[in-house]
């Protein structure tokens, strides 16, 4: 016996696609489009948040003018770029040969080795920050203890010295994401046909030449993807420096990234308008650098 559903429960083919896509659209609207629009609106307002939504006052471009004159905004941007380069470039320089090595040298153990490299990526940032806080401790940390043991170095104040905290954070970010990039490159390398390597071997090409002339060109789209993710992620770096410095930017703001500064500007200094303007300026920087990455990876046409 077949049961017919009541008419109000029946979905006409005309509406079905919209209904099925609506969960995403609703969530995207609430958590994506609305905050974006609200922050754009806030960027033109002066707002004492504890006074409620009615306390907003239109100030035109004053927040943008303030952000561009604010030395801490520029300090944060410089720190962000420094960290993005110092943590991002080594990630790819290590991940590429590492992926090639795993690809060619491991057969049965490959999945296990990849899992080990991938582990930091899926570990909670808070746990990572707490662990590195202990490791980098000046007097009781294992890193200083190891350096003293191996090289007789005196104890370094990694987290409270403006010259040291940036490399410490860059190292954590590198450690965390190198496995992720390795997995990306490994996946791309598996798509390169084995015949190319066989032909190259017959032609007398060694492993280096094969790497530079077959592997690298073969995974170029993935390198572009990985580098783009690193550029965007690096410019939005928040969790690691925030937790390591207690959200206060570290000594002389040496570890204050743009994203952590935006958060402080809004929630510690109560300036939501200024923070929103800065976030849109940061968006412009991210967009420009992503575009520059795209240009750098664009296939150049040879002379006709």
């Amino acid at each position: 016996m077949s049961m017919r559903r009541p008419s109000f429960l029946r979905l006409s083919p005309k509406w079905a696609p919209y209904v099925f896509i609506s969960p995403f659209l609703i969530l995207f609207g609430v958590f994506g489009v609305f905050p974006l629009g609200f922050s754009l609106y806030l960027a033109f307002q002066s707002w004492e948040p504890t006074g409620g939504l009615k306390a907003m006052e239109f100030v035109g471009l004053a927040n943008f003018a303030f952000a561009l004159k604010d030395p801490w905004f520029w300090t944060a941007l410089k720190n962000t770029l420094w960290l993005a380069i110092a943590s991002g470039v080594p990630q790819h320089l290590v991940a590429l040969p590492l992926a090639a090595f795993i690809h060619t040298s491991f057969k049965r153990l490959r999945d296990g080795v990849i899992a080990v490299y991938f582990l930091p990526y899926i570990t909670s940032t808070v746990a990572i920050a707490i662990m590195f806080n202990a490791l980098f401790s000046q007097d009781y940390g294992m890193i200083n203890a190891a350096l003293a043991q191996a090289f007789g170095m005196s104890h370094i104040d990694w987290l409270h010295d403006p010259g040291r905290i940036k490399p410490a954070i860059a190292f954590i970010v590198f450690w965390r994401y190198v496995g992720f990039n390795t997995v990306l490159y490994l996946a791309a390398m598996q798509t390169i046909p084995g015949e190319l390597y066989e032909a190259a071997t017959l032609d007398g090409a060694g492993r280096w030449r094969q790497f530079f002339h077959i592997t690298l060109p073969g995974i170029k789209p993935m390198i572009f993807f990985g580098v783009t993710l690193s550029v965007i992620g690096g410019l939005q770096l928040f969790e690691e420096p925030f937790i390591l410095t207690g959200g206060k930017g570290g000594p002389q703001q040496a570890a204050m990234t743009s994203a952590t500064y935006l958060f402080r500007e809004a929630f510690a200094f109560n300036d939501f308008g200024g923070a929103s303007a800065m976030s849109w300026l940061l968006f412009v920087v991210v967009a420009l650098l992503t575009w520059a990455t795209n240009v750098a990876f664009r296939t150049r046409k040879g002379p006709q």
């Binding site: 306390a55 303030f66 000594p251 002389q252």
Partner: protein, 432 residues
């Protein structure tokens, strides 16, 4: 509304069956003495220790209002204040009573999001003389509104290691005449014991810049938002901090870090400057093993400074039907001497209510301080401290001045240059 009107009706006796008898018996066994769930709930948002103080008061509250439950929502200190900022900005999920740390009272006071407690039904003004004067004054905003009621305070004090001072041939009064004398004593302590005078030089600087402030004066900005950083008060604080660094008298340790705490445990820190609540912190987790070795004294150079404190506020847009009840709870927490005294006994919350400071047993010997009756010192300090004016950029100014001090101590930047730079930075924001 009477309590009886809110009670649910009992089971219909005419339909008594074996099942209903069993069910009634089970209900009685599971909840003995509970006749009905409270009809209303007051929500109190608080941060650690304040939440416990409120929870401890629930039995007393329940006797007065068996039909009104108290729901204490606890978040960690920073999260709590971020959540309160968000709640006030959107007027959503507002608690009936909001605990606020002293610095946030200043930050929130001019936003207009908190109820003016001078107005009926609160009428806090008639109890003004019962509070420690500066604590009450600190909750008055620019419009003269009183936006929160003080419950506990942190009178500034100098804690010192009696044994280390003795080994250096010093007594506490040697440290007290002036801040220079304090540093001179530190040099002798370092020489005799190897211990640092203080763990973090910022603690010292924070005190120095508050030294000599007049009632109603601002710390970083005056009432017209003029920047006060490039002034003798800051120059002296920086000069003495530099003198401390050059004589290796400070541990260069981040306050509250593991290293900072470990230095106390290993007898490497001879003094600490802070609120009276610091005794509880040292005794409970920082260095319980040093019990009996510490003593308290007034701060050097007759400096009277407050270190934080806690207030209760009622959000302007919270449910009007519960505002009178919310105020009744605040009154119980802040104006009932027995509750204030209980908070002192259990959580070291120094009372903002003057009567509680005169209660029998208030000045009991403190075991951690070797039996010293230190609370009388803090009572005196509390009565001498005056309120300072809060500016909405104070939090930024504090971070910027800390950076300036670091640049002087770590990078050798001249004091004049560092203070000129930070003044310029603050001027950019002073009127935002």
């Amino acid at each position: 509304m009477s309590a009886s009107s809110t009670l649910p009706r009992g089971p219909r006796t005419s339909a008594t069956t074996r099942r209903t008898v069993l069910a009634a018996g089970l209900a009685a066994a599971v909840a003995p003495g509970v006749r009905a769930a409270p009809a209303r709930t007051l929500t109190v948002a608080a941060f650690p220790l304040v939440d416990q103080i409120v929870k401890d008061a629930i039995p007393q509250w329940s006797q007065r209002h068996p039909d009104v439950a108290i729901n204490v929502v606890m978040r960690q200190y920073d999260d709590h204040h971020t959540a309160m900022t968000t709640a006030l900005s959107t007027a959503v999920y507002l608690p009936d009573v909001m605990a606020l740390e002293a610095s946030y009272v200043g930050k929130f006071s001019d936003g207009g999001g908190l109820s003016d407690l001078r107005q009926p039904p609160y009428d806090i003004g008639r109890n003004r003389s019962r509070f420690v004067a500066y604590a009450y004054d600190q909750a008055i905003n620019r419009k003269g509104q009183v936006v929160a009621a003080p419950t506990d305070i942190g009178p500034g004090t100098m804690l010192y290691r009696q044994d280390l001072l003795e080994r250096a041939g010093l007594v506490s009064s040697d440290l007290q005449p002036s801040w220079d004398a304090y540093i001179d004593a530190g040099i002798r302590i370092k020489k005799a014991t190897g211990a640092n005078l203080i763990g973090n030089v910022r603690t010292f600087k924070d005190l120095m810049i508050r030294s000599g402030l007049k009632k109603g004066q601002g710390l970083y900005f005056d009432s017209d938002s003029n920047v006060l950083v490039d002034t003798p008060r800051f120059h002296r604080a920086f000069e003495l901090s530099l003198r401390m660094r050059r004589n290796h008298l400070e541990g260069h340790l981040e306050t509250w870090s593991n290293e900072w705490a470990e230095a106390f445990r290993r007898n490497m820190t001879a003094t600490e400057l802070g609120g009276s609540w610091m005794v509880g912190q040292l005794a409970n987790w920082v260095a319980p093993g040093t019990k009996g070795l510490w003593r308290a004294a007034q701060l050097p150079e007759a400096t009277w400074v407050s270190y934080g404190g806690t207030y209760y506020a009622i959000p302007r847009d919270s449910d009007p039907a519960r505002k009178a009840l919310a105020w009744e709870l605040i009154e119980m927490m802040t104006l009932d001497p027995s509750r204030q005294f209980a908070a002192l006994q259990t959580q070291d919350a120094f009372p903002a209510l003057l009567e509680a400071q005169d209660a029998p047993g208030f000045d009991e010997p403190l075991e951690f301080l070797g039996g010293q009756r230190a609370r009388e010192l803090w009572r005196e300090a509390a009565r001498r401290i005056t309120a300072t004016a809060i500016h909405k950029q104070d939090k930024f100014a504090e971070d910027a001045v800390n950076d300036a001090l670091d640049s002087v101590l770590d990078n050798g930047v001249g004091i004049r240059q560092a203070l000129t730079d930070v003044a310029r930075l603050l001027e950019l924001r002073a009127r935002r």
